[in-house]
Amino acid sequence: MDDGLKALICDDSLLVRKQLRDILTDCGCIVVEAADGKAAVDAFAQHRPDVVFMDIVMPVYDGLEALRRIKETDPSARVVMVSSAGTKNNLIQAIEMGAADFLQKPYDRNQIFQVINRFKTGGGL
């Protein structure tokens, strides 16, 4: 799976970042990380990743605010929300703001593989 996609992981949990990085690295992705919503927006501007994995409950900006700012910068940005708080409100807001997908935690490796495969072949939502 050597597609060379650049992935940005945004999660305030060191554990989540480590475990997601391991999966994405296995997918052949180049990985950059951010530990809060504002750092995610900055990292997106700096690295221009092919895909963003975005937590919702984070300090400074939450994931939805970070999503909104990233989409303002780049409407074609592909942002996958990854959260335990998959409430109807969060789902609706994320979709309205242009999120490419929403993964409810706990997710498994196959779900991440599927997302990467879809983007690799040019798919969206």
């Binding site: 305030d12 480590k18 409950v57 984070m58 335990s84 708080a85 998959g86 109807k88």
Partner: protein, 289 residues
């Protein structure tokens, strides 16, 4: 799991030493249940009657059950039920305690009786039948109009089973925590306001972090904090999803590590007994950080 809970109880009551418990837990994997022990545990025979049958067995080539029926200690129906129980294997620790000469049958009978009197045993039966809601309602009195609270605590127990592979016991009173407790808290806001948290010893904290994450964690560090925090976050997130499905939208704040937080009100900490240690589960209603 029964072995670990009963073993934990025996340790707390200083009935056996930690070394003896470890020896027994290891040994129990290799032993088979004996019918006399099952009969005492079920209250069908006394230790003296069991010894009488054992004595008779040494003198003639007959099975335990046959002699017990002949002596009028058991009915054929009771024997049949005991034989079914024998296959379940949840009393292996009791057999191991006897085989290793750590407890006599009389001492074991007494310990089992007091263990059952604590209510922990009935909680385990509920766990085994997956009746978590009944378990919570039996173990905790939250008063009337507390459906959401019961649901929240029952979800926590299910998540402990699901994500930690534990069978938790709700222990009366505050959790016994050695040394300075370590606490992770997270706020739920919206129509329902809660401060939630996990309070435990450093040893239990490391154990929970390791169990949940599957990572090598040997000390308190950022990864340990992240693992315990993510467990709480996952639980609270699933609570939010459940509430959202009922039309109640809530929000979560990022988790925080705090030290201290000693001023708890009665009833706002649920004490869970796990094999990795006791955990205080903070559940403060109508509160914000």
């Amino acid at each position: 799991m029964f072995g670990q809970y009963f073993g934990q109880y025996l340790l707390q009551k200083r009935i056996i030493t930690p070394e003896a418990l470890l020896e027994v837990l290891e040994y129990q994997k290799t032993v088979n249940l004996k019918l006399g022990l099952l009969a005492v545990n079920a209250g069908l025979m006394t230790p003296v009657q069991v010894e009488t049958v054992h004595h008779a067995q040494r003198q003639r080539d007959q099975k335990f059950g046959e002699i017990a029926i002949e002596f009028g200690f058991l009915t054929p129906g009771q024997l049949e039920e005991l034989l079914r129980t024998q296959k379940r294997g949840h009393l292996l620790i009791s057999q191991a305690l006897i085989d290793k000469n750590i407890l006599t049958l009389q001492e074991l009978e007494s310990a089992l009786k007091s263990f059952k009197d604590t209510g922990m045993s009935s909680q385990m039966e509920n766990l085994q039948s997956a009746d978590i809601d009944a378990l919570v309602r039996n173990a905790i009195d939250l008063g009337s109009d507390a459906e959401t609270s019961y649901d929240y605590i029952a979800l926590m127990l299910r998540n402990v089973i699901r994500f930690l592979g534990e069978e938790p016991v709700i222990v009366p009173g505050l959790p016994a925590i050695d040394g300075a407790p370590r606490t992770i808290i997270q706020e739920v806001s919206g129509e329902i306001k809660l401060i939630t948290g996990l309070i435990m010893s450093e040893e239990a904290f490391i154990g929970l972090a390791r169990r949940f994450s599957g990572e090598v964690i040997e000390e308190i560090n950022e990864l340990a904090d992240a693992a315990v925090g993510e467990f709480l976050n996952l639980h609270n997130g699933l609570f939010l999803v459940n509430m959202s499905n009922r039309g109640i939208e809530l929000q979560l704040s990022p988790q925080k590590v705090v030290t201290g937080l000693q001023s708890h009100q009665p009833g706002e900490i649920i004490s869970l007994g796990l094999t990795l240690g006791n955990i205080g589960f903070l559940f403060r209603k109508n509160a914000t950080l």
